[in-house]
Symmetry: C3
Subunit: 264 residues, 3 copies
């Protein structure tokens, strides 16, 4: 799988897919820069008047509810509906799932539009599965990551989406064998929006391969490895953010091969 | 007071308080990163539908009117009302007070909801005091900083809030003796949003101590010292911004002690 | 012309003009930081209630439609109308011109309000000229840059604005001889919003000189040279962005003279 993931990374660099993002205010700049650094072309647009054209122009869609409100959730729903109609891949980032009833309501509409992929942290995936009445084994039974795995499995069965759980180990749940990626560094949690960045990168990889599991694995591996290598030359979260963008841009096949710790 | 300020810094690092921010588009990324760097957990959310729940979830609230409009000022007012009802601390950043009648109108509604703390530059504090008919001695009588001190005193008496005036010297006016902090560097004024960052950090410290004066002093000292130390290894405002985030993250007790220049 | 451009750069540093920006969410932070780095004072404000006062307060206006929607395009139109009424210079960045019918409609209203300057990439200038029925020689006749030159000429004749085309070579079309600037580096296209930054800097220079061609040339030269010099000490787009801000701040007359490659 290692070899095919690197091929997908090269495909993004050479094909430079247009990725349409409807995302939150906090991370727009980061995720645009991360997409540019890996070779993709980001577009950020949310006006109802142009969403149908924008989705049609682009190769994939990223929907992130971080700073949602009424107008933006309408835009997200319209874009997801359009992507579905055009059979274009789209990825959902359920930021803050479970935090408020409003988020859960909007997410349940979005889930109904069948995202190609969903990525969140363990508590978001758990909340999303529970709110949508997937048959999870309950929140307080066992350790968090294994619970989230059950929740992810249930979410996958409910929606057909490939599900990513970010954390110390990143898990990818789909109809293919479970993928586990053990890269990254805790300092990445002290930079805002790296989860959102992972989701944006997944959007780029969904544009270059039809294998959804590989798309998510390539994006996850690339970001985690870049972060891990960047951390070695960083003094804190400020320099990590800068070095991470540099490394997304100049990562070599050798660095990728020598750093990746993946099970599947 | 030095010792207690460092204790508050450690408290933020260990307690990682949830801080709810309704702030401007320009600085959302910076202030989220600064809050993460000091160990706090930022949330940015402004939808009317979820504000009541978000304020209840968080330990404190930051309201910054930088890029206000009708919808956002409604959200700010609702959040401030909710924070007041739940007796949660909230801090106001009156960006551009006095620049337009609209800003002054929104600010006068916000002031009426009794912020726990207010931080601005000298001209914002002067404008805020004048617009709210505090008994200041008039804008053109003496030097700006001493006038702003009178305005701050009047604002404090009017609202009960602890008042911070940012500048070459930072002043903190409350029912405790005047605090003066002489740290920082002029290059910090060439990075956008460091005033807004100061306000966000105040929000984090209000979540870990009931002493409002100490909360503001800890936030102000931490940011000014981090900026001052970062400037020594920076070539301009770009590297200052990066090094400042690193230093907020890795500042040591010794660095804090050896750099702080405070009178109180 | 070299000497006069450097004089304008010093004028921005010493006069610190207030520049009002109604721009997109992705780049607000970047463009505010770039304006601060060159010595200008950015203001970001879009509320209908305060736009008239804000335009009156500032020395120039920057309108960028990147993440436009109904409310924001109303704000842009109101601000442009007000700038025109007060005879203040304003610059338009037609981000994504030609991508959707909605963008073209909003742009045609904005063009009607006679921007002082317009800056875009070749395809945006072509789309803008075509959508506004300028007499361009057609899109598919010759190489893209020369076509864009014809389109720029037509747009200039239609609007009276000085027109900038960004690319490997930057062109400036006005009633003065064609200006060509051959600075910059391809890595700049991997940092989000540097085109938007160019437009914001043009706004600052329009505030210090009535010569529109020189204003655009000074902004374009300054940004391209800073990017070119920054690239020499950068490992990728992350460090380029940081070093670019530093260089905008500390560029010397000698560096400017020795690096500028301009024809006019």
């Amino acid at each position: 799988m290692k070899t095919i993931l690197w091929k997908h990374i090269l495909a993004v660099r050479t094909q430079s897919p247009l990725v349409h993002n409807i995302t939150n205010y906090v991370v727009m700049n980061n995720t645009a820069n991360a997409l540019l650094a890996i070779g993709a072309s980001p577009i950020m647009a949310h006006a109802r008047e142009e969403i149908d054209e924008m989705v049609a122009l682009c190769s994939s869609l990223v929907v992130n509810i971080g700073t949602l409100d009424h107008a933006w959730s309408d835009a997200m729903l319209q874009a997801a509906r359009r992507a579905r109609a055009l059979k274009k891949p789209w990825v959902l980032d359920p930021v803050g799932a479970g935090a408020t009833a409003y988020r859960d309501k909007v997410l349940s509409h979005l889930i109904g539009l069948r995202p190609t992929a969903i990525r969140g942290n363990a508590s978001e995936i758990l909340a999303l599965a529970n709110a949508n009445q997937s048959k999870t084994k309950g929140v307080d039974s066992t350790a968090q990551s294994s619970e989230a795995l059950d929740a992810a499995q249930a979410l996958h069965e409910l929606t057909g989406a490939v599900i990513g759980i970010s954390g110390e180990t990143d898990f990818i749940v789909s109809d293919q064998p479970l993928v586990q990626i053990h890269n990254g560094t805790p300092l990445m949690t002290r930079v805002t929006g790296l989860g959102c960045t992972a989701t944006a990168l997944i959007g780029a990889f969904l544009a270059v391969t039809e294998n959804k599991t590989e798309a998510m694995a390539a994006a996850t591996a690339l970001l985690s490895i870049a972060g891990e290598l960047a951390e070695k030359i960083s003094n804190g979260p400020g320099s990590l953010q800068m070095n991470l963008l540099d490394k997304l841009y100049n990562l070599t096949a050798d660095e990728f091969d020598n750093t990746l710790r993946m099970e599947s």
